[in-house]
Amino acid sequence: MGRTLPSITQVFLQEQDSFARFRRALRRSDQLALDDLFAAAHQHLAAAAYAAHALPFEVFLLAMLLEEHKEVIRLRRLLESALPLSND
């Protein structure tokens, strides 16, 4: 629609496609984990668009890392609430 540059979703899909050979060579279980990472990055497309970074894949990597870190925090809290006194 009159855009000169590809939309962020198009960029994301191109980046994901460029790893098709890598994904194919992975074990099935690893493939699914990789898909999780891309799905995690997908949640931050709006922020990636706004960043207008020259190397968008760096932003996608950071978005994956962000979701991983959120998961770490969530698991740590879960663990701490399950074992409240174990550190003492």
Partner: protein, 760 residues
């Protein structure tokens, strides 16, 4: 000399009489008046070429009045010399202009192709249906004219128009009609189309007897009027469709074009003079705002009623900008001359962006407020003075545009803000009035139609800033608007987060927010006030959802999508986006079932009560599946209607729509890209049956299996937030084993992360 007051009905040029004005007099008579309205257009260029043009024009059979003048255009604040060419009769101007451009294609022309109604509006403040006071001399010529109304008043009464509706008894593109149904005031007539002679004689008498102001037809543009005119010619019986005798009937050809990611089909048009013709099937957005909306569009744009009914809102906003320019003495270029200024790749990456579209937090949420900026982009244009001539102009008070290395000057109101400000003011006043009116109030429907008409104008105004052919467009202005839009939305997000709200979703100009313990409209007022304060733009509470479900993508349930959700507001009304009921190609039977299921779930006051309504929803679904299997679903409700995106040879794979189109073409029925093909799914090959084939489809051939699948898929969309997948629903429904305890089992909304599958 007599003085009369009445409403302006129609206005057009006439080869002998100059401008003809039809006035609906207060005493009920329709007066045909003449008015002298010389028009001026301009040429600019090198002095020697202008001298040659002067000579060329003086040698014309009816030489126009020529003079040298100084004028300014939008992008040059300093006046420059132009040749002013004044033509006494505006009807002759287009012809003269064609000759001029053929002989002098190198010159720059201004004010050369303006509709006469716009020139009239700029001079006299007129608009269709405006109340006017005129002095008329003995020969029916207007000596003076004053407009008594302003298009910006909220309550402009519609004069007592005589409307005659004319329609064939059936859809002519489905079967051949046999009768014409005619209604006018309390009279109704039914004329057999064959034999044609008595029909034509009767129709002619009816038209003469009622002398309608408006001919409201269905398929009038695309079938009925062309057919009637053809019969009239064959039988040599004139049909007084025009009120103006002696003028021909204007035809515009059909066309398909591509805009905003989709292909649009516009049927041919039949335009009358002295009387309007509107085809409800060919009018733009008629289903959205109806006659009231068309009248409102005509008022604010000053374009003729029958034109405005058919043109896109873009032409409407263009007309409004031209009027502003005419009133301010700014020349209107015949062709656009500005090109985009160069940018670096990095500048382009920052500038070439649209509005911010977030991915919502998937799942079911309770007590969510949806807040929207009111007409965000137009408000930005007015608030920050964004116009093609103001962007990039330095001035002491200029504002810096976020993200772009550009400024906007703030000292002189630009053309676009000047055009939009009264429209925006009227829209805000309408919204305020609507909010105060009780639901039963008779004016509500009109106000809603007006609001809808305004909305389209305002929406397209933004697009027109970036449209390459718009006369007052400039891509930098367009980019400035979206840049301010992103800034404003982010400021709103930051405000909400500062005040302890969770932002669930954001979409260009709207936010979905919630905070524990807040559920009443007044709870959200402080947030609205703070956002309005920090952004300088009006923002309003659209509503509070009892609950809303943001759905994941169909392909991957871990991935959220921006515009697929449904929810129930506190007043019980539903809002759905991107799901089956909203899709045009969903058969009515399925759309209605999904809506009923939603209404049923909508009874739940709180998200946790949804499960209580599950048995009811499932029994509804089972009943509908049974109806489908027993052939109780009406065939018409199973129709799939798909828009054609290309011509038959261009379809690479024979999709159902292409197969239906092929069936139609085999009986010499053709459809153009942008038109819809209607079909039902049938068993075996070819799998579809086109609805508009001469023979009706056999009810026993309906592909019940396929419809059941579609129905279950639509149902699962609605049940997804309850943790019921399509496969689980199908297994249980089809096996006839609805064990509710099993359905309840996966209770949680989608997990934050999907568990990893074991290897292998």
């Amino acid at each position: 000399m007599i003085e009369r007051t009445g409403w302006l009905l129609d206005l057009y040029t006439h080869p002998e009489d100059g401008v003809v004005v039809w006035l609906l007099d207060e005493d009920g008579t329709r007066r045909r008046l003449r008015q002298a309205l010389p028009v001026v257009f301009y040429a600019a260029g090198p002095a020697d070429r202008l001298r040659l043009l002067w000579r060329f024009l003086s040698e014309q059979p009816q030489p126009p009045r020529l003079s040298r003048a100084e004028r300014r255009d939008l992008f040059n604040p300093e006046p420059f010399p132009v040749l002013a060419i004044q033509v006494e009769n505006p009807a002759l101007q287009p012809l003269l202009f064609n000759r001029v451009t053929a002989a002098f294609p190198d010159l720059v022309y201004y004010d050369a192709d303006l509709p006469i109604s716009l020139r009239h509006a700029a001079l006299y403040g007129t608009f269709p249906l405006a109340r006017c006071q005129v002095s008329i001399d003995e020969s029916g010529k207007i000596a003076s004219l004053f407009t008594l109304d302003s298009p910006w008043e909220l309550d402009l009464p519609v004069p007592p128009l005589c409307i005659l509706s004319l329609e064939p008894d059936v859809d002519p593109f489905h079967t051949t009609p046999c009768y014409l149904n005619i209604n006018c005031q309390r009279y109704s007539y039914r004329l057999a189309l064959s034999p044609p002679r008595p029909m034509l004689v009767n129709l002619s008498a009816i038209l003469q007897r009622h002398d309608p102001d408006l001919l409201l037809t269905t398929w009038g543009d695309t079938w009925l009027l062309p057919r009637l005119l053809e019969l009239s010619e064959q039988n040599n019986i004139p049909l007084p469709l025009n009120r103006e005798t002696g003028l021909g009937i204007a035809h515009r050809k059909e066309r398909s074009y591509f805009t905003y990611g989709q292909i649009i089909y516009r049927g041919q048009q039949i335009l009358l003079s002295g009387r309007w013709h509107i085809d409800a099937h060919n009018a733009m957005l008629f289903h959205d705002y109806g006659m009231e909306g068309i009248f409102e569009l005509a008022r604010v744009t000053a374009l003729p009623v029958q034109t405005v009914a058919r043109v896109s809102p873009g032409s409407g906003i263009s007309a409004m900008q031209m009027q502003t320019a005419l009133r301010q003495g700014i020349l209107i270029p015949w062709h656009k001359q500005q090109s985009e200024s160069p940018k670096t790749a990095l500048e382009l990456m920052h500038a070439d962006q649209g509005g911010l579209v977030y991915q919502p937090l998937i799942g079911l949420h309770q007590d969510v407020a949806e807040i929207d900026f009111i007409s965000m982009y137009p408000s930005i244009m007015v608030r920050f003075n964004i116009s093609p001539e103001t962007v990039g102009q330095e001035s002491p008070t200029a504002e810096l545009i976020p993200e772009l290395a550009l400024v906007v000057e703030q000292d002189h109101p630009g053309l676009v803000p000047r055009t939009l400000a009264p429209l925006l003011k009227k829209r805000l006043a309408l919204k305020a009035r609507l909010a105060d009116l009780p639901a039963w109030h008779p004016r509500r429907a009109s106000y809603k139609a007006y609001a809808s008409a305004h909305k389209w104008l305002l929406v397209t105004c933004f697009g027109y800033l970036g449209y390459k052919n718009a006369r007052f467009g400039r891509i930098e202005a367009h980019e400035a608007v979206t840049a301010f839009g992103r800034e404003v939305l982010l400021r709103a997000k930051e405000t909400a987060e500062d005040m302890g709200f969770t932002v669930l979703h954001m979409y260009v100009d709207g936010l979905w927010v919630k905070r524990e313990g807040l559920s009443q409209p007044s709870d959200f007022q402080p947030l609205l006030a703070e956002i309005a304060g920090r952004t300088g733009l009006p923002i309003a509470l659209d509503g509070i959802y009892r609950w809303v479900a943001f759905l994941p993508s169909r392909q991957d349930e871990r991935v959220p999508v921006a515009n697929r959700y449904f929810g129930v507001f506190q007043d019980g009304s539903l809002k759905t986006r991107g799901i089956e009921t909203r899709r045009r190609d969903t058969p009515r039977f399925i759309a209605e079932t999904q809506e009923q299921m939603l209404l049923c779930l909508g009874q739940a006051e709180r998200a946790c009560e949804l499960e209580l309504y599950l048995p009811q929803v499932l029994s509804l679904l089972r009943r509908q599946i049974a109806a489908l299997r027993n052939g109780k679903a009406p065939l018409q409700h199973l129709l799939v209607s798909q828009k054609l995106s290309r011509t038959l040879p261009e379809y690479r794979t024979p999709s159902p729509a292409a197969r239906a189109l092929q069936q139609l073409q085999s009986v010499q029925k053709t459809l153009k890209p942008g038109q819809c093909v209607r079909f039902i799914y049938t068993r075996g090959d070819p799998g579809v049956y086109a609805w508009d084939l001469p023979k009706p489809p056999d009810p026993d051939c309906v592909d019940v299996q396929r419809y059941t699948t579609l129905l279950i898929r639509a149902a699962s969309t609605v049940l997804q937030p309850l943790g019921i997948s399509e496969a689980a629903l199908r297994d249980r429904l089809l096996a006839g084993l609805i064990a509710q305890e099993n359905l309840f089992a996966p209770r949680s909304i989608l997990p934050a992360r999907m568990p990893l599958q074991p290897p292998g």
